[in-house]
């Protein structure tokens, strides 16, 4: 059981170092082997706070016509990108989803992109 608990923490500690220095791909093992020592290694990993584009740029109305704007929040296959990935706030995500669905209806955005 103790192994199971320690293994998920190992990738999280090795990941920031991997992003820091490119040569630690195979060398990612040693830091993973001593998880007790640099416990703060995981802390050093700094994730930038995501901000809502609509709040920051003060875009009030999300209109189904501006495809340029909507396309930023649609994945390659035409899916609506979830909030946790884009950082859009709840209120705006709701409006955004509505606008995307309207745009799909009038063939401005695809329901499913072709491959």
């Amino acid at each position: 059981m103790a192994d199971e608990i320690s293994t998920p923490s190992a990738p999280s500690t090795s990941r920031p170092e991997g992003s820091g220095s490119g040569s630690s791909g195979p060398g990612g093992r040693p830091p993973a082997g001593r998880p007790s020592g640099p416990g703060g290694g995981g802390r050093k990993f700094f994730r930038r706070k995501k901000v809502c584009k609509f709040c920051v740029e003060k875009i009030d109305a999300i209109h189904y016509r501006d495809v340029r704007l909507l396309q930023q929040f649609v994945a390659e296959r035409g899916k609506i990108v979830p909030r946790r990935l884009t950082g859009v706030c709840t209120t705006h995500q709701r409006g955004l989803a509505r606008a995307i669905k309207q745009a799909r209806n009038i063939a401005l955005l695809p329901f499913a992109a072709r491959y």
């Binding site: 009030d60 109305a61 009038i106 063939a107 695809p110």
Partner: protein, 139 residues
């Protein structure tokens, strides 16, 4: 009750310009006869469709902003559905959204005034100054 609606429709790409104008004119006449009024008419031109509609891969987009009753919009929708060159349409009610945006803008404007006002800036330190003093006195 008169409300703002936006009606966007796609006309098949192989239609002639005169026919398109005729179609739009007919629709306009319909709206004005039904007691509505046209706020704006915009031909967005030919655009590629995101997916195939009735075997067409592109279409002429037309955007119509009108002031009309709900029943009139229903009638227009029926007409668009039966008219052969129109391959797709969408009607969206805009007035609530406009109201909401206007409200937000109004709130923002008042906030800006407070921060931008020169009178507010000197007033704040005066207010702030006695506050620490009273705090110190109480402490």
């Amino acid at each position: 009750m008169q409300r703002t609606y936006e009606i966007m429709f796609i006309v098949r790409p192989d239609i002639l310009d005169e026919d398109l104008d005729k179609l739009i004119a007919g629709l306009e006449a319909n709206i004005t006869h039904g007691g509505g009024s046209i706020k704006s008419l915009e031909k967005l031109g030919r655009r590629k469709l995101a997916y195939t509609v009735k075997k067409f891969n592109d279409g002429n987009y037309v955007l119509l902003t009108i002031l009309a009753d709900g029943s009139l919009v229903g009638e227009i929708e029926r007409r668009l559905r039966v008219s052969e060159p129109v391959i797709k349409f969408i009607s969206v009610r805009m007035d609530e959204e406009e109201k909401r945006v206007a409200k937000i803008k109004a709130i923002r404007a008042t906030r800006k005034k407070l921060s931008a006002q020169p009178a507010a800036a000197p007033a704040a330190p005066v207010e702030a100054a006695p506050a620490p003093a009273s705090e110190a006195a109480s402490a």
